[in-house]
């Protein structure tokens, strides 16, 4: 694949300065979103999420391990991501590069800070044994906005997760025995928004070409509350924002949050029901 030319980027920016996008969407409009939680019978939970042509798979695996010294009475959460060469010609094998690490970190932060997983309930013996939750994110087709897709996939995967059977005497997990308990989750279902700045305007859910044309992005996760509570944030790339723009981003998220979160959670719940 050829790199997106400066010309394309320039044209995208020009269009957006008039509030227009190549594919006719509004600046704050997402592409069609599909969610399926039937990923792997060997996983404790999982999801496939498509946003337009972008596709991400998220799997949840659980095991029993030792707690971290600073959280002796809590389960451990680990998020890893892989931007696979399968999903785009620009990705290569080898040690993870920054975008791979950043993706995992951003999902981790949003999930962790929201308190969505009740990690205290995942303690088996304080100071000795706790549940490990591994969230692994794989890109399957990258056509922009992998982060929001990964975040939705992670929420869906966690909602679909069942805790495997643990034999305390033997100290072993029986992955074959049918699990019955859901992962302990709270009401704080987080949702992530990546807001891109392109040509001076703000855009949600960019396609690949729009992503390359962007100056940067502001990423935030929030939990449903009245008023809305922002639980994680990060500014990416070298873009600068004046406080007016920053305020605009917060307004955009506030205005978009309720309907979007409701729609996504409805899709997740339907997918879980279908997979039963």
């Amino acid at each position: 694949m050829i790199e997106d030319s400066k010309l394309t980027s320039k044209r995208i920016a020009e269009y957006l300065s008039n509030g227009k996008r190549f594919d006719g969407r509004k600046v704050d409009e997402f592409r069609d979103i599909e969610i399926d939680v039937n990923l792997s019978k060997k996983a404790e939970g999982g999801a496939k999420v498509k946003i337009g042509k972008t596709e991400v798979w998220v799997g949840v695996k659980m095991s029993v391990g030792e707690p971290y010294p600073d959280s002796l009475d809590q389960g451990n959460l680990m998020v890893t991501s892989e931007l696979t060469p399968l999903s785009h010609s620009k990705y290569e094998y080898g040690p993870p590069k920054f975008p791979t690490i950043e993706l995992g970190r951003l999902v981790d932060r949003g999930i962790r800070e929201s308190g969505f997983i009740d990690l205290k309930k995942l303690c088996i013996v304080e100071g000795e044994k706790v549940w490990n939750i591994f969230i692994d994110i794989y890109s399957i087709n990258d056509d922009g906005n992998l982060l929001d897709a990964s975040f939705i996939g992670t929420v869906a995967a966690l909602k679909s997760t069942k805790i495997p059977h643990y034999d305390e005497k033997e100290g072993k997990i029986d992955y074959e025995k049918k699990p019955k308990d859901n992962l302990p989750l709270t009401e704080n279902v987080p949702m992530n928004f990546s807001i891109y700045k392109i040509g001076g305007g703000l855009v949600l859910d960019p396609i690949q070409e729009e992503e390359s044309a962007a100056e940067g992005r502001l990423i935030l996760a929030a939990i449903p509350d009245k008023p809305l509570k922002i639980c994680s944030m990060q500014k990416s790339q070298t873009m600068d924002l004046d406080t007016d723009e920053f305020g605009k981003i917060l307004d955009l998220v506030e205005q978009k949050y309720d309907s979007f979160t409701k729609e996504i959670n409805k899709k997740i719940d339907e997918a879980i029901k279908k997979n039963k």
Binding site: K41, K42, T80
Partner: protein, 235 residues
């Protein structure tokens, strides 16, 4: 006790239900998924494209590069992401299995990259991977002599069976389990074989004949998947 009935009730010469589909990764030049029952593989193909670093280029032909990886959640005990000795070997084995079938002389200095990922594993993952890869190469329009199909033949105690699942792979009775993964180009020429276990040469000859027959059927399924994709395009 002899292995008189398969754990999942299949006939000895029956594969698990096969699913094959192309076009699962829109970004790629070609892509496919292939499943033997609960073993699911996906593959994508990029190329022929310029090969970097330059010193690896071959001025007389394009080259094939295959990577096989299991997803962390494809098995009960999570696999740490990244290459292992096992995945490195299977990558190379798969590359050799497919290499005889592709014709890249017209594309000097280029590479065709094949990426195989195992979504869900219930034994015979390399076979499902090779089948998905062969399908993805054809879907990408890479010139090929023929399709490559792959299947595992098992020997449970003394009984030969087609398409081994995990339960059979772990069979311990009598002579135990012998697992033979093999691939055929055009259901004629053997392009890959690996064996774990104990088997006589007479039984092994029989096993390869069984494998060849199974691969004939698999190639038909691969062709059907390719044709279905063309029909959708034409609509």
């Amino acid at each position: 006790m002899a292995y008189t009935k398969r754990f999942d009730g299949r006939k000895f010469d029956e594969t698990r239900p096969i699913t094959a589909k192309v076009g699962v990764v829109p970004n790629a030049d070609g892509s496919a998924m292939f499943a033997f029952g609960n073993t699911i593989a996906i593959a994508s193909v990029y190329g022929p494209r310029q090969l970097h670093p330059q010193h690896m280029q071959n001025p007389s032909t394009g080259i094939l590069r295959v990577n096989y990886n299991m997803m962390s959640f494809s098995v009960s005990d999570r696999i740490r992401p990244g290459p292992s000795k096992r995945s490195t070997e299977i990558s190379k084995i798969s590359e050799w299995a497919l290499n005889s079938a592709i014709l890249l002389e017209e594309y000097p200095n280029t590479v065709v990259d094949v990426h195989i990922m195992i979504q869900q594993a219930d034994a015979s993952t390399r076979c499902a991977g090779i089948n998905a890869a062969s399908l993805a190469l054809a879907h990408a329009g890479v010139p090929m002599k023929d399709l490559v199909a792959s299947v595992s033949i098992g020997k449970m105690d003394k009984q030969l069976v087609i398409d081994v699942n995990k339960e059979e792979e772990d069979y311990k009775e009598g002579e135990g389990a012998t697992d033979i993964a093999m691939s055929f180009m055009g259901a004629k020429k053997l392009t890959h074989i690996q064996l774990d276990g104990k088997i006589s040469s007479k039984e092994l000859k029989e096993a390869t004949e069984m494998g060849k027959k199974a691969c004939e059927k698999i190639i038909e399924i691969q062709k059907k998947a390719l044709k279905e994709a063309m029909e959708i395009k034409n609509d």
